[in-house]
């Protein structure tokens, strides 16, 4: 008893001594890192810091890993994620402690990047951090990052890791992170479990937790380190269950991808089918209105380049609708108006217009451009441990749903919609019934082009903005309109989703190219069976 106490003391002293030595050496290495005499010194210093794994150095290492390490008055600092309106950042010290920097008046200090000295750490050196990245990311202020870090933790046998983990978990505030952190702890405990019941309990906890490497961990445990075959089998069984669960999630991911692709197609096809219904022609310039919407978003982002965060995108949603709509209106007034009873001619004219619009965009904007993803929509929603649903796609799905609903209400629940549908089918008689056909036609064109513009705005979230971007989607969206049955809102939705899902499912089996060919041929065969789309008109009205 006494012995053991003594032993404990010695151990404690030793630990303290080691810790303080570690503290000392860490400041040395940090100094070497910040002001290296040579590259090799820096590499060595980083190597040592990685090996030592001292929590106090973690903020510093994190800054290095994120390429956000700067020097200000010889202090190692980092910047806060989001810049202010004037592209200025709040600053944090990263070593030896973390605290925000203030100016003389006590307000947070705001500086722009050019006022800071960047500490360049070569990639090779940064890569050294990779093994302990999960460890220091545990200290990240960003919960998402911590969640990832917990999942990525390795060498859980290591007492130092265990200690850090326990420490972090005890301070964890985020619900999800806490759960995952705790369950990482289970993993450690599993390995130290001494009887079947506890082991099984931990296996269950791990399976419930289902972190990134849960199944690998369980398999490893089951095939080697388990202390009896019963637990081993149990672990392997659980691992298999997790695998199949994972496959199911992949399926969900695929469905989601299909849904998102489908929504994009629907969003584009919506305007197309409205305009098609009205002018009775293939509007060759529809894609270009999309492009106008996308460039509107781009321009607004440029105007807002001084900050204001996500506002630029929120504003561009209605603006891209309006700008593209107005362009459509002008086009309608100048050209299409003369062509209502001449479908062929409008085909030609809109083709000509699309050439003009593309070249105009090329001359004004030059080449490849892209819109910054709004902060709110960056990243994804961790729907389940292995299922990330990107926010931008969720947003597009939601936007599509809203637009479909609005379009439906507009077309079928308002007087305007009634008139639009009437004019679409019989201009002359509508006029005789008091419908101002010209105004209605203009409004319809405005809405149709506006919807295209909105689609363009939404597409900036996932793709780039180029003058001929319209062409990329146009055939696909025509296919949607046609397979759904021309002028059928419900058809457009079903076929859009259908094509989305089918494309994604076929991509899971074929390469993307053949997936596309497959889907095209599939549609052709489908049309054999439904030559007038999914929802054909029935009876006499179908004959025209």
């Amino acid at each position: 008893m006494k012995n053991s106490l003594k032993f404990g003391w010695i151990l404690l002293l030793l630990l303290v001594a080691m810790a303080s030595r570690a503290q000392d050496s860490s400041s040395l290495y940090v100094a070497q890192l910040l002001h290296p005499q040579s590259d090799s010194v820096r590499t060595h210093a980083i190597g040592r810091l990685v090996a030592l794994r001292i929590p106090a150095t973690f903020p510093l290492l994190m800054a290095i890993n994120d390429k956000k390490l700067y020097l200000l008055d010889n202090q190692a600092i980092t910047i806060d994620g989001k810049p202010s309106d004037e592209e200025k950042y709040r600053l944090h010290r990263v070593y030896p402690d973390t605290r925000p920097l203030h100016n003389s008046s006590g307000d947070p200090l705001l500086l722009s990047l050019s006022q800071l000295k960047t500490v360049d750490i070569p990639r090779a050196d940064r890569l050294l951090l990779l093994p302990i990245a999960p460890l220091f990311n545990l200290y990240s202020p960003d919960a998402q990052k911590r969640i990832q870090a917990y999942g990525q933790l390795t060498d859980l046998q290591d007492p130092q890791v265990q200690k850090i983990l326990a420490d972090v978990v005890s301070k964890e505030t985020d619900y999800n992170a806490l759960r995952i952190g705790k369950e990482s702890l289970y993993a450690i405990q599993l390995h130290t479990a001494k009887n079947e019941a506890t082991a099984k309990a931990y296996i269950d906890s791990i399976a419930r937790n289902w972190s990134d490497n849960a199944s690998a961990l369980l398999t490893a445990y089951g095939s080697g380190k388990a202390f009896n075959t019963n637990t081993a089998n149990y672990a392997i069984e659980k691992a298999k269950q997790l695998e199949s669960k994972y496959d199911n999630l992949q399926r969900i991911q695929n469905l989601f991808s299909g849904l998102s692709l489908g929504s994009i197609l629907i969003l584009i096809a919506l305007g197309l089918s409205i305009v098609y219904g009205l002018a009775g022609v293939i509007n060759m310039a529809h894609g270009e209105f999309m492009m106008i919407g996308a460039y509107t978003t781009y321009c607004i982002q440029m105007l807002f380049s001084r900050g204001y965060g996500d506002w630029f995108f929120i504003i561009s949603l209605p603006l891209s609708f309006i700008v593209a709509g107005l362009m459509g209106l002008i086009l309608e007034r100048l050209v299409i108006r003369h062509l209502y009873s001449k479908p062929l001619e409008s085909l030609l004219a809109t083709w000509g217009i699309s050439l003009i619009l593309v070249q105009t965009a090329r001359l004004i904007f030059g080449d490849l451009t892209a819109v910054k993803t709004p902060q709110l929509l960056a990243g994804g929603w961790q729907a389940a441990p292995h299922l990330t649903l990107p926010y931008n796609r969720i947003f597009i799905i939601a936007l599509t749903a809203v637009m479909v609903l609005l379009t439906y209400l507009m077309l079928f629940k308002t007087k305007l919609g009634l008139q639009i549908r009437a004019v679409t089918q019989n201009r002359q008689m509508s006029a005789c019934l008091g419908v101002e056909t010209r105004r209605i036609a203009a409004v319809t064109f405005f809405i149709g082009s506006g919807l295209a513009g909105l689609a363009g705005c939404a597409i900036t979230l996932i793709g780039n903005v180029v003058p001929d971007m319209g062409q990329t989607y146009i055939v696909d969206s025509f296919l949607v309109v046609v397979t759904g049955g021309v002028g059928k809102l419900a058809g457009t939705i079903v076929s859009g989703l259908g094509i989305g899902f089918f494309t994604k499912i076929s991509e899971a089996f074929f390469q993307a190219v053949y997936g596309k060919v497959f889907i095209l041929l599939f549609i052709m065969l489908f049309m054999q069976y439904k030559p007038k789309g999914l929802f054909p008109d029935k009876g006499r009205i179908a004959e025209e």
Binding site: R421, Q425, N426, M429, C432, L433, G434, D537, G539, I541
Partner: protein, 240 residues
Amino acid sequence: MNHAYTAPILSVNQLVAAYGQSTILRGTTLSMQKGAITTVMGRNGVGKTTLLKTIMGLLPVQEGTITFNNQDITKIPSHKKAKIGIAYVPQGREIIPKLSVYENLQLGLIAHADKNAKLPEEEIYHLFPILKDFRKRAGGNLSGGQQQQLAIARALVSNPTLLLLDEPTEGIQPSIAQEIGSILQKLVKEKGLSVLLVEQKIDFATQVTDHYYFMDRGKMVMDGGAEELNHKALEKYISV
């Protein structure tokens, strides 16, 4: 009757109109009294439909004038004409095919002077019971006669002062044709509606009309009161 003393509700003066190169109306003149049914008769292809189309503004007037309620409406677009109280039942019905019967009727409300007017469903369904059963059905799927009934109902919904009817009884079963006749007379009497009717069936015309015109090759060649309208009077023109 003494037409000379009341101002005509519609007068068409020396109207000339053409489809492209071929002139159809060659100086058509017509004047109709308020609160009366005026019938235009004539053989196939003489331009009766063209006359109504021109009055309605579907065909540009090349020469001549059209006056409605002392207002010159020669150059007014169709939808404005509808709004000032002219309703039109065209030959061939022109139902909006993919709108339901109910929606077709609602479309009639657009020209109604009162923006908040409600659809007088009761009345319509009383006149044309069949439309009630088919409220939700696409207009284009109705049978020919049903469509004709719908077209007439649609025109009446807007509560017009002048009704242009192009062969309204075409394809309608005898009992309902008869009823249409009496409805017209009733509306004329009770609401002061004026009707310009294009009709080929003398029986129907004699039954309802107050005044008739006979048209040939784009011109009115004869007119007179209802009492003068009989087969013999028309014979010489018809056999031409």
